[in-house]
Amino acid sequence: MANNVYFEDVSIGDKLPEWSRKTDFMNWNRYAAVNDEFVYIHMDDEAGRKGLNEQGAFGMGNLRYAYIVNALQAWIGDEAQVREIGCQFRAINQKNDVLTVVGTVTAKEVSDGEHRIMLDIDVLNQKGEPTCPGHAVLSVPSRLS
């Protein structure tokens, strides 16, 4: 069993351990294959430029969302649960971008019989630019139960 995080050990202001991934066609093609997401703007530079991205093809928002899930799950471990994720796709990500999921704990509460941690989250590119601001709610174990 993997209990990484207990409710009592988390404080408001704590940072989510950063989770990074350099993305290119190797990541995008695999994601397209499992999600049946074969869209020209994510596969072909010419199509990407026609889509008003000068650098060509660009990454999927859904894959960035998956990276948020991965970062949260990596922190809390297998026994805890992601309860909610909200985000906005404010910017696209380019080929070879290094994306880093970041987060800060904003609140804690016990509700619906669960010990919950709230975070502000985002996915930054290698320039530190936000691409996907949002929030998350996690259900984690308590040392008292």
């Binding site: 899930v69 991965n70 297998d78």
Partner: protein, 169 residues
């Protein structure tokens, strides 16, 4: 009133009729261990994904007792027939608004998760136009529509609820 004048509302009669009404349901194919494994490999590439997504022996030691899918797993990928569920999500379909072509943007989403998906699950999806909001923004008169999708497993347990925001102006 000139052609450039903005309408008083972007809400259509069609939207009002459909508000809150669930559309047709559709079922996923049964979720397989292989589907989950491949999904996990793709979203964790190039690292090895956590064993709870692919190692049945390890997964049996967790609270879940079995392999589970990552929360973002999509059991509806690769349909034999691509069919969109019947539900109102487009604003401009009738009346005065139809005369003006609207632009749209993805305004984001909020996903709430219930029980995890497991091998053998058949997921049933339904969706509806939940509500909307209109206001002046830097884009002009702007309509925000909120569409809601629910996934339940074969036991009727909630797996996921997504509220998607579409921005039309």
């Amino acid at each position: 009133m000139s052609d450039q004048a903005e309408p008083e509302t972007l809400v259509t009669e069609d939207m009002i009729l459909r508000q809150g009404r669930w559309g047709s349901e559709r079922d996923s194919p049964p979720v397989s261990e292989s589907d989950i494994r491949k999904w996990a490999i793709a979203v964790y590439w190039p690292e090895t994904p956590p064993p709870v997504f692919w190692d049945a022996v390890y997964a049996a030691t967790t609270r879940w007792g079995t392999i589970i899918a990552p929360p973002d797993f999509n059991p509806f990928a690769w349909p034999i027939v691509t069919e969109k569920p019947k539900v109102a999500t487009k604003a401009a379909s009738s009346g005065e608004v139809k005369a003006r072509k609207l632009r749209g943007m993805n305004g984001g989403q909020v996903d709430t998760y219930g029980v995890p998906m497991r091998p053998g699950d058949v997921i049933t999806a339904r969706n509806r136009l939940r509500d909307w909001d209109e206001r002046q923004t830097r884009l002009g008169h702007t309509l925000f529509t909120y569409s809601e999708t629910e996934w339940h497993n074969q036991q009727g347990e909630l797996v996921k609820r997504r509220v998607s925001t579409a921005i039309l102006y």
